[in-house]
Amino acid sequence: MDVVGRALLILALGVSIFGSGAALAAARGAGPATLMVAARRALYALLALSVGAFVLMEVAFIRPDFSYTVVTGHASLTTPLGYRIAAPWASQEGSLLLWLTLLSVTSTIAIRSLRGRMRDVEPYALAVLLLLAAFFAGLLVFAARPFATVPFPPQDGIGLSPLLRYPTMMIHPPLLYSGYTLFAVPFAFGIGALAAGRLGGDWIVHTRRYALAAWLLLGTGIILGSRWSYAELGWGGYWAWDPVENASVMPWLTATAFLHTIVVQERRGLLKTWNVSLVLATGLLCLLGTFLVRSGILQSIHAFGASTVGPPFLILIGALLALSIWLVVKRRALLEPDGEIQLLSRESMFLLGNLAIIVLVIVVLWGTFFPLISEALTGEASSVGATWFSQYATPSALAIVALAGLAPLLPWGRGRWAAFGRATLLPLAAGLATGVATALAGGTGSIAAILLATAAGFTLVAIGREYVIGARARRALTGDAPALALLHAVSGNRRRYGGYLVHAGLSTLLLAVAASTAFDTTKQQPLRQGERIQLAGGRELEYVKPTGRIVLNSEDRVERIEFGADMRVWRDGKPAELIHPRHDFYPSSAAIAFGPVGRFFEGEETTEISLNSGPMRDLWVAATPDSKAIVDRAKVVNTGFVKLLEERDISNDVAGEILAKSLQGIVDQHLAASPPVIARAIDAPGVFWVWIGAGMMGLGGLLAVSQPSVARSRAKAAALARVGQELGAA
């Protein structure tokens, strides 16, 4: 099977190079007319080959086949099946293969859906897409080989990191990669439109849906990663401004920017240079994000370690950046705007919002790469922390939220100050009321939170007003009931109302972020049985008793050993719910290094928090026992167990029974000793609304992406018109 896998990847590399060359030759008018057909077929062949290779790798993980290096490194006999299926993208090789597979899928859909349109642009776009595919196939053939095998396969593997055994982590990487690869479509068509000199609205109309879907998937992936960080990583936060987190958010931000300004280009013929630059920047930032994770060039908790794939990535990004700049400069005459933007207009608000977003992207890019920049300039590396990022992100977020509410209040073209003043009256009053309420509820400790609350209140009411106006207009036309009128108004213009819902979701999310970071309280201290911690809002947390158990998987193998704590929440002096935070030990496969007993305590550890989430506040609790004491006890038991094996001739079955009793003995000793735990309790107001806001944004994105394309709408309208004419004639 490994030979087949390697052959599929080599063939994938071959057809990508051939297809890219053929498409480029067809674009330049060289060679026979059938070259473009051959290039398209090369893309379809690439799809079949990459999907085939991916299926082979999945089969190797599901079995699991430890003759593959990548399977041994990321799966084990105790890794549950669901996580074995998801394990390929925990590895460098598997994630690159996933990239290639998703790229071939999105490229095929984008090219097939053209149906004869944009014949000048298509060959260039196809050449770029296949060139990207050739790059990833080349990495898989020469640098990160997923089908590499070992001559003497071990009986068990290292297993998937327990930290990654979390439901949303199964789909987090595929969502990110789907977003990245979908952004390759507008990038390729942007290059194609520039190269062909066809810079009308066609390429934007064709690729907008891909960009919107990419934005939605990448955003969903980012928020699922945040949720995992909050619920699984044991530190109680959902965003740390880590280089790898920054790498995923930068293309999402530039895409957010161009999804707004391409509407300006469609409607008014403005911002053409700006739009094509943003589309190209988004594509390049996706590659940069992948490079950051793959190369290990920056210190990050997520980055892969020493890797050989960094230099090829740098060469590709450098070459595509140079090509992008050259093409934009070369075609600048074709990118001249058709008019000017008036200050009091919807498009000026879009542009200002874009500027706020791009300033934020520049700041994040600069801060992320600052260790390399400072080392190059001063000879010593320095880095900036979350506080530095937040001081720039806060004013940007404030501007973005305010503009998200201002833009819908203004018309396209030129607005009138009097009408604008009337439209802003109610939202402004609501914003000020929200700001005052926040100051009264949370104190004046955080000016940023109060200002964000004011902006969010303004925007939420401004957007609510748009929904009301839309429903009223519909009702005036049809006489529908209010709820039905609203439904019809929204379904009639899903792109517009989906966008408004995204704005409302973003305001909710950023307000929740401000509230949860400004007004949270954290308590961390050792607790003995019966002791309590005082929490905010008249609550207390009591350590009732320790817990412990051995958890077996479906094949009766020890999957993990849990050491937890039963803790009682007290509200206003009365006992409330009982919660069960715990700390889990996963076995290591290094039986010789740690011994038959010791290996069950020397693998990875995870903190499983207890989360009591609600609309007003979250209570996040972790309880960590003294891991070192447990491991030390295991070492003592291990020494005795090994001595017993050496002194007596014991069968494997009997040894297995003694081992099980030894493990249970360690757990029982822990329970009997009732040692203290280090309790960490975070009382955070509003975190619940971070996820609600993100959900609203996702729903809005889905609504917008479900709008039929302009071409299909026009075709439908023409068909309806024909039916109307025929009915009229009859």
Binding site: T72, G73, F152, P154, Q155, D156, I158, L160, S161, L163, L164, L233, G234, W235, G236, Q299, I301, H302, A303, G305, E340, V359, I362, G367, F370, P371, S374, E380, A381, S382, S383, V384, G385, W388, Q391, Q524, P526, D556, S588, S589, A590, A591, I592, A593, P596, E604, E605, T607, T624, D626, K628, N652, D653, A655, G656, E657, L659, A660, L663, I678
Partner: protein, 153 residues
């Protein structure tokens, strides 16, 4: 008075450029003034400025970890090898699950203030990070090849 389109564009460009230069200058200044130098333990063991926060990358020394009363104590050596001069660190913030003896970590530290143990560095709250374990490829494999003893319950 009508201003020509080209003059308006020039004026807008000048304003935008001035603003961009101002913001860039501010960005560069605040970054350099807020940044923490990145060092290895051997580079700050003897010469650390007590007023300066350093971001230190190093390997947690085997047998050096203890946690009396919830305060984490450990020693750091050079990353990858643990060789060279070591520093002692005390830390009260969140400890990642992946923190372990023999692993490489990053932490922001300051030298202990005068009157305290000056040889000990104080870790800044919630700055301790370790490499995500999924990205380690060099864990020891089952070297006996025969498989571990399986507990019989």
């Amino acid at each position: 008075m009508q201003v020509s389109r080209s003059r308006r564009r020039t004026a807008r460009f000048t304003v935008a450029l001035t603003l961009a230069l101002f913001l860039s200058g501010m960005l560069v200044y605040t970054t350099f003034s807020a940044a923490s130098p990145e060092r290895f333990p051997g580079q700050i063991a003897a010469t650390a400025d007590p007023q300066q926060t350093y971001r230190v990358g190093g390997r947690v020394i085997e047998g050096s970890v203890s946690r009396p009363e919830g305060v984490l104590h450990f020693k750091l050596g050079h990353p990858g090898t643990a060789a060279g001069e070591q520093i002692s660190v005390t830390y009260r913030g969140t400890v990642p699950d992946t923190f372990r003896e023999g692993r490489d970590i990053l932490i922001d530290v300051k030298r202990g203030a005068a009157g305290s143990d000056a040889a000990t560095f104080v870790g800044q709250d919630n700055t301790l990070v370790t490499k995500c374990p999924s990205k380690f490829n060099g864990e020891p494999m089952n070297p006996d090849g025969g498989g571990p003893i399986v507990p019989k319950t």
